[in-house]
């Protein structure tokens, strides 16, 4: 298997991320599979940022620890990452800022300026130098530039051309026969999936790592209205208002904003109003480590909202699943008239993946009123789902945060009425459980399906866990739907296991607690809580001790 990693680093503002993306696009168009991890801090200028581009002939979903190339725009890049460079690795560096004895030094800022550009175009110099080093045809480079540099294309091409001539080709990268797939972040994929399922409106208050959903939808013309409001409380309440009036809405935030949304979530359950809430986790508690990852909101999300309530919570682990679940969850929220949460994290939201769609997402029908007889918004039904109608439809639609009668009027006096409505919702929760029970892909199984040693994981821990399991020939169970819990599928998947190990990125073993609540005991925990994403090598090292 071909599998190599390029790190492009520089000061925030030097354009290392753009350089990484362009390099990724070049390799993508040669048929390679790509995973890009972008690392930056909570600041706008200065500070070190880098992108790690993993390139492989097979689909990859996670970083690799060892580097094959370092492309350094500043000295810190070398200082910080040289240790990870393989012995066979190569360094390309900006000789205007860095003195370094090995590798290829290019006075990239000087060259950029000599060709009439600015010093920020040093990144163009480095892209071209790298492309030539690995033997990419100039025509291909030019094609990618034409797409990626809408502004200043001519100068960038001029710079690239000069460097391409001057640098010596070291190897000739092979073109692969793979189908070329789009490169997309988890957040973008999630947004597109929800659009396919009929998303009408997206409300948000900016919070990393969810913000790029807002930016993406606002910058596109997909017919989705994007609205930024004063805080996350307003966001969820306005979304409920819009859904009450018939519009499919989604909202997005991270842990702190999700905390503010919980009163609205509880309201959504009581009033039976659909809304999809994206919680893209960063390291908590509180402000935590804002631009890094974690899975420590699991407990909170599953227990969010006061009162007796069940909602849907799903945890996609990559762009394909984000796309798929962005759509499926919106359909489920409307089918069951309920809030639903998509739980992801920084690693998924902001990393770039190849999108390989294998299921068609379409808007499914709501549980709409059939226009017969008298309309009651909260009609007592067998499966607990009442008919939906919207204001303006010719009938009176009353919705409320109070416990209510079938017409949506406050119920305080009649114990019977209150019990009946609570039980209507309970039947709906049961129907939601049944929906999950019948979902074959509520969990996914990877690795050696017959192994008695099982790793159980979710979200962004899945990719690294699958890779680590390969080495020891283990079975991996990824839990995709977290609520209602797919207890039948998980129990069956671990039925004859002799060892269960949970792999998760929080300090308390929250997934293990969830499993325990459902009668499944994990013997060992592999936890990571340093804010940086768990690596396959780290899992392997711990597995060596455990097995």
């Amino acid at each position: 298997m071909k599998d190599f990693t390029i790190l492009v680093g520089g000061q925030a503002g030097q354009g290392s991320r753009k350089a990484g993306l362009v390099i990724a696009k070049i390799l993508n168009s040669l048929g390679y599979r790509i995973f890009i991890y972008d690392d930056y801090q909570s600041l706008i200028r200065g500070g070190h940022s880098f992108s790690k581009i993993r390139v492989s002939d097979k689909k990859v979903e996670g970083q690799s620890e060892e580097l094959d190339y370092i492309i350094a725009l500043d000295k810190e890049t070398i200082d910080k990452h040289l240790d990870s460079l393989k012995d066979s690795g190569t360094v390309l560096f900006n000789a205007d800022r860095i003195e370094f004895k090995k590798g290829l030094g290019i006075k990239s800022e000087t060259i950029a300026k000599e060709e009439g550009g600015s010093s920020i175009m040093a990144n163009t110099v480095m892209i071209s130098a790298f492309a030539k080093t690995i033997g990419v045809d100039f025509e291909l480079l030019k094609n990618v530039f034409q797409k990626e540099f809408k502004k200043g294309l001519d100068i960038n091409l001029k710079i690239a051309e000069r460097v391409y001539v001057e640098v010596i080709e070291k190897t000739k990268i092979e073109k692969l026969e793979n189908k070329i797939l789009p490169l997309i972040t988890g957040n973008e994929a999630l947004a597109l999936g929800s659009v396919e399922a009929g998303l009408d409106m997206y409300y948000a208050y900016p919070m990393t790592p969810a913000t790029s959903i807002l930016h993406f939808l606002a910058g596109r013309k997909l017919g989705v209205e994007t609205i930024q409001l004063e805080n996350e409380i307003a966001v969820i309440i306005a979304a409920l208002g819009s859904a009450y009036a018939g519009k499919r809405t989604m909202i997005g935030t991270s842990g702190g904003g999700f905390a503010l949304m919980t009163e609205g979530l509880s309201f959504g359950v009581m009033a039976e109003i659909p809304v999809v809430i994206v919680n893209s986790q960063r390291t908590g508690p509180a402000t935590g480590v804002p631009t890094y990852s974690g899975q420590s909101d699991l407990n909170f999300v599953l227990n969010a909202g006061h009162g007796d309530l069940v909602k849907f919570t799903v945890a996609p682990s990559n762009a394909d699943e984000c796309y798929e679940w962005g759509g499926r969850i919106l359909n489920l929220a409307w089918k069951y008239q309920t809030p639903a949460v998509v739980l992801i994290d920084k690693e998924i939201s902001e990393s770039t993946f190849n999108l390989d769609i294998n299921s068609k997402i379409e808007q499914e029908n709501n549980s709409l009123w059939n226009q017969e007889g008298e309309y009651r918004r909260y009609e007592i039904t067998e499966n607990g789902i009442s008919p939906l109608a919207f204001p303006g439809n010719g009938v009176v639609v009353k919705t409320t945060s109070y416990e209510h009668d079938q017409n949506g009027l406050t119920a305080e006096e009649s114990e019977e009425e209150i019990t009946a409505m609570q039980e209507k919702r309970l039947r709906k929760f049961e129907a939601m459980q049944e929906e999950v029970d019948n979902m074959e892909d509520a969990i996914k199984i990877f690795g050696n399906k017959d192994s008695k040693n099982v790793l159980i994981t979710f979200g962004s821990s899945t990719g690294p866990a699958i890779e680590a399991a390969e080495k020891f020939d283990l079975k991996v169970v990824q839990i995709v739907v977290l609520e209602p819990f797919p207890v039948i599928q998980v129990t069956e998947a671990v039925g004859d296991a002799s060892l269960i190990v949970c792999v998760e990125q929080n300090a308390l073993g929250q997934l293990a607690s969830l499993l325990a609540k459902n009668g499944i005991e994990a013997e060992e925990l592999i936890l990571k809580y340093s804010s940086r994403v768990i690596q396959k090598g780290e899992i392997e090292d711990l597995l060596k001790e455990i097995l």
């Binding site: 997909l222 017919g223 609205i227 309440i237 009176v396 919705t399 009027l409």
Partner: protein, 272 residues
Amino acid sequence: MNKLDTNYKNTWCPGCGNFGILVAFKNAIKDEDPNNIAIVSGIGCHAKIVDYINVNSFYSLHGRALPAAEGIKLANPDLKVIAFTGDGDSLDEGISHLIHAAKRNSDITVVLHNNRLFALTTGQFTAVSVEGFKGKSTPTGAPESPINPLELLLASNATFISRSYSGNIKHLEETLKRAIAHKGFSIVEVLEPCVSFFNTTEFYNNKTYVLDDANLDSREEALKKIREWNYEENGEKVPLGVFYEVSKLPFYERVLTNKKEETVEDILKELI
């Protein structure tokens, strides 16, 4: 039974100012198509009004009437959306929403039931209670002095600012009609006595007077009218009327601009 009535049992105290608001509002909308109306409320005595009116309604959480009203309007701009809110609701718990809804010029009408205390929780001070207000939470008197909510709304760029009194149903009805007809954010502050915890009936009967419409687009004039009474216990004159009215593009017309010009497929091709 009026077609706007529900047969829901009314539980307001006899003599409560909310009755006047209910009557005036039903009169104000009697010529409207009820199908195109959605009413919203927060939580408090005032909020029960939605159970008493047979139109589309959204009984929100405490403090959260306004974002719900704004969300409904954005989802369906054909609806006339009226939010009933209390002073505790929109000047304490949800004050940020009030400021921002005004600033955005959201096309909703806000009916602020101002009884100058939390009533449903049995009488504690709010942002507009008189200094020294003796409630159960402040037996020795509220330590804060009131804000002037209409001044706050003027500063927040509200485009229609008015005040009425629940005891002057004719004036209230006319003011509500004008507010609902206004395109953009409108507020009708309704002074209302809470007969159980802060009975201001006599004070308002004696001190309120109706202003003539004049210089409605002048902020300076509006400020003068608004400042004539600063919510003190024994003010001399309490003006009612429309204090300020200007026209400005409503929020929905500015923000609902995302036409469908590309498909998911187009974008995926672009991302290769």
